[in-house]
Structure formats: structure tokens, C-alpha cells
């Protein structure tokens, strides 16, 4: 069964060629590829074999799994999950305890070097990694073991990609990202808090379809989904360009759908697919609902200044530094002023009056 292609699986389920074409068209759209690539997608999907997938959940809130299971293209999703062999996943699997851990180890051995490793949650390093363990094994150790035999790693969610919430100041557990620990395997970062469901499915679909990593940006994110900033795809952009900003939630401007820059929207510096793909099957997304983007797919977004303070404002208060500087400057100025006066006084005192007789001497 593990050697079946996706086309075989579809045929087995009684899906016709037309159905396969429809699946490929939808997958092409999901991958944000131009429609002209549907033929290439169809060709790839017709050939690809079923890879094993191991999902490790570390220091996380399970939001990413929740988001993924709410992916709203059920036909695609269920087909993709049929297509992959999800051998280990805490929340979704039936097994538990020793049986679950044995299943994981068995799967890793059986497909060593070929399985896809998906990680969500950050990895705590402080105090020997004791702050998050599974079956007595620290996250760090489990990640290193699993990464050794993986073909590629997908770090799902901002926690796995960049450290996320546990990594925010003061980072009491010493949380780090997957890419801070694994240096020798290809890693795809799929950040978001949580990531857009269609994006997660799309990345898996890409790996399934082409067997390769998608084109990644300098933060390791697939350009297909993270290539544009929210700002560049925001439907409220005309209002930003015209300088029409909502001043408070629910004022006249807010109700007319004006730009939320003043209310803290981090859209300009955030790269994600929310503005086009949206959430809940294309229902809406934060800005459309009237709330500014919080920048959840960017590193350190929790420490990037308040969610409700504009992007042009400082991250923390400068009043302390300013007061100290004014005081120090005043003190220094007064000191120098006094020194100058002293010099003047000394010059005056040291002034020697000269008479013409003295000069003629």
C-alpha cells in the first residue's frame, strides 16, 4: 500500500479522470501556482509515492493541529491525508502510551532517510530541556533523533519556526526554534499563530506533488504563500494610500472600513496569505473583521511593541533614557558653564593693568 501512487489511491476510491483533473486544478490553486501549471501538477501527482509522515508536538498549544483539522477543502485534505501515511501524531492518533512511542520508533526505522518530519511547538533548552518532555525524553533529544532520519522537516507554526510565544521575553524555558537545533536537514518554516490551514495543506501538497521543497525566502518560508506582505494584498490598501485611518474601534472610519494603521495593524511588515486565502474557508480575516494584523507569522512578533500601537511607534518606552539624558546633559552643561565662568573670572583676576611707564621701561 505504501507504494501506491496518488492516482492509484483515487482510482481505488472510484474517482474518475475528470475528478483527478478537478483535484489537480484545486491543488494548483491551493499551491498558488498559475493555472497553466495544472498539467505539471497532474503529471507529478500521478507518479508520486506515499511518504511516511511523523508529527512531533513539542512546547505548543495545539493551535496548529486545530487549525489544520479545520482546513476547509475537505476533499483535498482527506485525499492528502489518505495520500500520506500519518504514522505519529499525539492529538490525532488512536494509540497512546508505550504503543504510540513504539509506533513512532518503528516508523522511523522502517522509512529511515525518507520520512517527512513535521514539528509544531518550540524546543525548551534551559535546565537540560526538562520543561517539555514526552515519555521522559526531552524535546531536544527527540528532535535530534527524528531529524537524523528525516528527508525534510516542516516547522509548523511560529513556535517551531521562530520560537513563538515561549520565546517571548523573558523566555523562561530557554525556548528555541527547530532551525536553531537542526542544521543539516532542509527545513520549511510555515509560521503563523496558527498558520492559515490552506497554507499548511498547500505546503504538504507541494511536497507530495513534487517531492521537493518549495521556493523559500530568507526566513525559510515558502514564497508561494509568504511572498507578499499583508499590506500589499490588503483590500483596505486604497484607504492607507489616501490617508484615511480609523482612530478607534467602531468609530465612523472603522465602520466605513478604513485602514487600521493607527490601531496597530502590522500588515506592512508581515508576510502571510491571510489577505487572499483568508480563514474559515475564505469567510474573513482579522482586518476584514475590523482588527489590525498582529504580525503572527514574523519572528518575535510578541515583542514587537503593542498590538494596538502603530508600527511607527517605539517598542518600549524611552522616557527613562530620555529623562536620564536630559539630567546628564544639564549637569554636564552646568559643569562646563561653571568651568567657563571660572576661566573668565581667572582671566579677569589675572589681568594685569599696564601703564605707559611700564611699557616704556
Amino acid at each position: 500500500m505504501a507504494d501506491e501512487t496518488l492516482l492509484d489511491i483515487l482510482k481505488r476510491r472510484g474517482v474518475s479522470r475528470r475528478g483527478f483533473l478537478k483535484f489537480c486544478a484545486a491543488t494548483t490553486s491551493l499551491l498558488a501556482l498559475p493555472p497553466s501549471m495544472a498539467a505539471a501538477v497532474a503529471e507529478s501527482l500521478g507518479r508520486v509515492r506515499r511518504p511516511a509522515v511523523i508529527w512531533l508536538s513539542f512546547q505548543e498549544c495545539t493551535g496548529c493541529t486545530e487549525s489544520l483539522t479545520r482546513a476547509h477543502s475537505p476533499s483535498i485534505e482527506s485525499l492528502i491525508f489518505d495520500a500520506i501515511s500519518l504514522d505519529y501524531h499525539h492529538t490525532l492518533q488512536a494509540a497512546s502510551g508505550h504503543a504510540a512511542e513504539e509506533a513512532r520508533e518503528h516508523s522511523m526505522k522502517a522509512d529511515w532517510g525518507n520520512y517527512l518530519l513535521i514539528v509544531d511547538g518550540s524546543i525548551p533548552l534551559k535546565d537540560g530541556g526538562v520543561y517539555s518532555t514526552i515519555a521522559g525524553i526531552s524535546n531536544l533529544q527527540m528532535l535530534q533523533e527524528a531529524a537524523a532520519g528525516a528527508a525534510a522537516i516542516v516547522a509548523i507554526g511560529t513556535c517551531a519556526a521562530y520560537g513563538g510565544l515561549p520565546h517571548a521575553q523573558p523566555n523562561p524555558t530557554g525556548a528555541v526554534a527547530v532551525s536553531d537545533i537542526v542544521k543539516d536537514k532542509p527545513i520549511i518554516n510555515v509560521p503563523g499563530c496558527p498558520p492559515v490551514p490552506a497554507v499548511m495543506v498547500g505546503v504538504l501538497a507541494h511536497y507530495l506533488t513534487f517531492g521537493t521543497l518549495p521556493d523559500l525566502d530568507d526566513l525559510g518560508r515558502p514564497r508561494a504563500f509568504y511572498g507578499e506582505s499583508i499590506h500589499d494584498r490588503c483590500y483596505r490598501r486604497p484607504f492607507y494610500d489616501q490617508g484615511k485611518f480609523a482612530k478607534t474601534f467602531d468609530d465612523a472610519g472603522a465602520r466605513d472600513g478604513w485602514c487600521l494603521f493607527e490601531l496597530g495593524c502590522k500588515g506592512p511588515t508581515t508576510h502571510n496569505a491571510c489577505a487572499t486565502t483568508k480563514w474559515n474557508g475564505g469567510t474573513s480575516w482579522p482586518v476584514q473583521s475590523g482588527h489590525g494584523c498582529i504580525g503572527c507569522s514574523e519572528p518575535d512578533f510578541w515583542d514587537a511593541g503593542g498590538f494596538y500601537k502603530a508600527l511607527s511607534t517605539p517598542v518600549n518606552s524611552v522616557t527613562g533614557a530620555a529623562t536620564a539624558a536630559v539630567a546628564a546633559g544639564a549637569a554636564a552643561g552646568i559643569a562646563i558653564g561653571l568651568a567657563n565662568r571660572q576661566r573668565k573670572a581667572r582671566a579677569r583676576a589675572g589681568h594685569q593693568t599696564v601703564t605707559i611707564e611700564d611699557l616704556e621701561k
Partner: protein, 219 residues
């Protein structure tokens, strides 16, 4: 360092350092200058015209007919870029938000496309002023490193701000970081260059008007 890390540094420790150096430097210079005081004028004022100092601040802010004749270009570029800089700095909404977060003060903004147009005019005025400074033999002779430095640190924030808004050339996050860093460079350099004229100018004009009045030439 990624663009985001640079931006967060610029909005965080970078700003604190820049503001601190700026305030330290300005306090130091202003107190240093004005603590020297004036020599006591023991003479009797020629004509009792109070308020001449204040009036001079206004009259010297307007160009003299003579100056127009001698150097119209300097007057035009000077006014254009000063007024433009003033408008861009104080009437663009993101800047007002910054000031509000630092001081609590705020006022209505101008429409962004208008400020955008004014930015272009300001940039052009600055470039024309620089070209004129380099080409005119007298101005070139009088210009030193400090002049070119002051021009550069004033030009960069305007340029990077314009580029950021229009998403020109580089990634927005990086451009925004560079814009904020260039403004911080301006702040850090400010108290140690001729840019302090921003504050000392008005005191100097008041003084000149007051002294002139004492000598019989009131404003």
C-alpha cells in the same frame, strides 16, 4: 541579522540610544552657550521699543528684497525644503503617532498623497541646493565636511521614507528599518553640527532684534 531583527532594534534600543544622545547633546550645548551670558550693557537704550526682539523673529523669517535679487535660488530652495521638511515630519500620520507615543500630544494629519507630493518637492529642493552649493565657487569654498554631513543626514530620512512608502527597490521591512535608523542617525549627529540652528536660531534672532533696538534700529 534579518530585516525584522534590525527593525525591532531600531524601534527599541536604537531609538532609546538616539533620543538619549540627542537630548544629552542639546541640553549640553544650549546650557553651555547660554550660561556664558552677556556682557552687561551699561549704556542707555537709544529708543525704548520693547518687543523688538520678538518682532525680529518674524521679520527675519521672511526674505529680504535684496536677498531675492542676489540669490533667488537659495531663497526658493531654502524655503521649499524647510517648509517641506516641517510638513512631512509633523503632518504625516505615522509620524504623529510616533510623537503621540513619545509625548502624548497629537493633532490632525494631512492627507497622505499630499504629504507624498511635498516629500518629492523637498527632495528636489535639497538636491538643487546641493548642486548649487557645489557649483557656485563661493559656496563651494565656504563649504566644509560639516555642511555635507548635515545635508546627508537630512536627505536620508526623506529618501528612505519615500522609498518605504512606495515599496521601491527593497523589502518593506528593511526599508522601514533603514528609514528609522537614518532618522536616529540624524538625532545622534544633530547636537554636534550646525543643525542645532533649529533651536538656537530663534534665540539668536531675538537677541539681534533686541540689541538693534537698544542701538536705535528697532524692528
Amino acid at each position: 541579522m534579518s530585516a525584522m531583527e534590525l527593525l525591532l532594534w531600531a524601534r527599541g534600543p536604537g531609538l532609546a540610544i538616539a533620543v538619549a544622545i540627542f537630548l544629552f547633546g542639546m541640553m549640553l550645548r544650549l546650557i553651555e552657550i547660554y550660561s556664558l551670558g552677556r556682557k552687561r550693557d551699561l549704556s542707555v537704550p537709544r529708543s525704548p521699543t520693547p518687543g523688538s526682539g520678538w518682532r525680529t523673529i518674524v521679520t527675519r523669517s521672511l526674505p529680504h528684497a535684496d536677498t531675492w535679487r542676489r540669490s533667488a535660488l537659495t531663497v526658493i530652495t531654502g524655503f521649499a525644503f524647510h517648509l517641506g521638511l516641517f510638513v512631512v515630519l509633523l503632518f504625516l500620520l505615522p509620524h504623529i503617532e510616533l510623537i503621540r507615543s513619545l509625548t502624548g500630544l497629537s493633532w490632525p494629519a494631512l492627507p497622505t498623497p499630499l504629504v507624498d507630493l511635498i516629500t518629492v518637492i523637498t527632495l528636489i529642493a535639497l538636491i538643487v541646493a546641493l548642486v548649487n552649493r557645489v557649483q557656485d565657487p563661493v559656496k563651494r569654498f565656504l563649504s566644509g565636511a560639516g555642511d555635507y554631513l548635515a545635508w546627508t543626514v537630512t536627505f536620508l530620512p526623506l529618501l528612505t521614507g519615500y522609498m518605504a512608502y512606495h515599496h521601491l527597490l527593497l523589502d518593506y521591512t528593511l526599508l522601514l528599518a533603514l528609514h528609522i535608523l537614518s532618522a536616529e542617525l540624524l538625532l545622534v549627529v544633530f547636537p554636534f553640527t550646525k543643525l542645532t540652528h533649529t533651536f538656537t536660531l530663534f534665540i539668536a534672532r531675538w537677541y539681534n532684534g533686541d540689541i538693534a533696538a537698544r542701538k536705535g534700529v528697532a524692528s
